[in-house]
Symmetry: C2
Amino acid sequence: MEILIKNCIFKGKEQSILIENNKIKGIGKIKGEHDYVIDAKNKAVMAGIVNTHTHLAMTLLRGIADDLPLDEWLNNHIWPYEREHLNPEFCHVGSLLGCLEMLKSGTTCFFDLYFFEESTFKAVEKSGMRGFLSQGILDFPTPEYEAGEAIRTAKKFIEKFKGKNERIKPALGPHAPHTCSSETLIAVRNLANKHNLKINIHISETRDEVKRIIEKTGMRPVEYLNEIGFLGDDVTAAHCVWLNDNEIKILKEKGVCVSHNQVSNMKLASGIAPITKMIDAGVNITLGTDGCASNNNLDMFEEMKTAALLHKVSNLDPTKMPAKKVVEMATTNAYQALDLNCGIEEGKLADLILIDLKKPHLTPMYNFNSHVVYSAKGSDVDTVIVGGEILMENREVKTLDEEEILEKAKEIVK
Amino acid sequence: MEILIKNCIFKGKEQSILIENNKIKGIGKIKGEHDYVIDAKNKAVMAGIVNTHTHLAMTLLRGIADDLPLDEWLNNHIWPYEREHLNPEFCHVGSLLGCLEMLKSGTTCFFDLYFFEESTFKAVEKSGMRGFLSQGILDFPTPEYEAGEAIRTAKKFIEKFKGKNERIKPALGPHAPHTCSSETLIAVRNLANKHNLKINIHISETRDEVKRIIEKTGMRPVEYLNEIGFLGDDVTAAHCVWLNDNEIKILKEKGVCVSHNQVSNMKLASGIAPITKMIDAGVNITLGTDGCASNNNLDMFEEMKTAALLHKVSNLDPTKMPAKKVVEMATTNAYQALDLNCGIEEGKLADLILIDLKKPHLTPMYNFNSHVVYSAKGSDVDTVIVGGEILMENREVKTLDEEEILEKAKEIVK
């Protein structure tokens, strides 16, 4: 199958992009007959966006409780709701809704950490998206399994789905150093090494967690994780709000990727992650939305803008987090962390999006990266292609039935 | 003319809203024949949003220079560009583009401060929006007039347009206490009193400005403005980033409205305005986008979310700036400041918007205010009505030719 995207704006001028099977075959002036032609006049092409930390099925908990102290939010709202309602069907519908939302805002790949990941796998498979799915691993009882059953549940998921779909990779999701014992974390490390899996984990989201780890281990969270041999370049660490300089140094040395979730960190008032310090230290920074209960959407354009704004003001320096760097966080930095051979380049995987520039808020255009970060919204994404497959065109998702999913989502939370 | 909006979601249930001429005539179950019927199934009604500080024609400078130190941004980019390019035609096209963008993101009224406001007046008149337009007043030469000509230019504008259009009110725009002498500021105060006009002014956007005012007057900016008798409840003060407790007290005592422009303050790294302190002190807080060169769009939904997020994290308290309060800032607080008899209530002016809830990122819905602040975007606004006139329906702006304006905007900046 060959797809020609003609007249799209790339690097400041109109060009064509030829896709053959799952890869980009050519960029520039391209003639001849092709199986499918997309006329991208007034549209700009951009590499597919990666959301490196979310809890997908939580789309169904979007706005269920806001503006509350963290403990009250978790203990009185999120956890009781999850205990009562989470099941495979709920997570399947929530994941379908999440895929729909991500496609409609230009996300082509994401790293999930939640429960009943088999249900999420099936939803992602249907959507055609790329995903890293990690079964949540905690030592205490969860809506899915009893205490002590986490590693067994994760193993089962990995064995069942490893190699099943080239776009979807099972991964490991140890929740956090304060909810997993060192035995559990070491078991995760061994599984990751054995099966060559990526790991997603929460690190130092709140000050309270850090205090608890220090009380338990005498070390700060990153130091402790390093001490037990958990860290590596296969780890994507979400949040990392409360780190000291030594912890930043360790993350760099071990090649750990950080998933900066600033909208969630702001909404829950967790704090401002020292991202500019981490950048200066050479840590690989990517962006994530976190779950919809603390955001309350999956729009990576919002994440990009908020990341740029927050670190400018918190450093009182408008030169921090320039647009180009922020776009890299949402694309190339994530490709590096997840070993994805993506980008708008010949021979790379054809994961790309078209942004419709024919909008008042995108007129005029002086600089594309500035537009992406400061002016655009997820709703400006017109077309999404993953692995050479058109998943959305003219904002119509081709792989999922939008009407049906919205109805099911409303039904299931009634 | 009677318009019936049927099946719209209001206060959690489906209701109808009847508009007669420019006012809301009834809300609830409404039967009978009407001139025009809007079926608002799956749409929620919300009172029209007010942007209390912008420089509308700067839409044409959107993204012209970003990520730069403030001085370099102003002195090497914005001001030279304005000196070379600003003229009535430029400001007319920029204002048409701005109105288009505001309508497409649910803003029904705005407070402008810029140059060649006659051009803006004509654009706003065409759009059907509500606006307060203030001719920028500065002591030094501007792209529009020579030094010393500011008050004369402003007077001319006021005399020409006062009472000309019931939706558009001329206003006064003294730029700032460091760019206007006390004589100029007192002349503005006298004009405001004489003609019953609203005033828009920048106060304490940067630390440097504050320093300069203290050096010049021995007082902090708000103290100085109070001392010369400038402040009153007809003043909307933009930014107010660097205030001390006494200045906050004065703003409250004088009934000054604050236009919080946090996206611009973050992007330019001006600082974080002490908004939660001002709220506690009883100051009336509203929201503004500032000009597109420092934002880079006019989306008030983005302003609402950013305002909520920023003050939660900067206070490390997730209960600060709850969604309902933020919605009030964008609506009722602004109505109060600008003497607008608006709101979704019988007898009020029919300035309202419909939000299309049939979207993945707005499904499911537990709480409408939470959706408005945390999940929605300007692009979810489906219909805009101002003064009983339908300005946009199904995202099609009826009063402006979108295609033509986008072309003109691209043409003029070439």
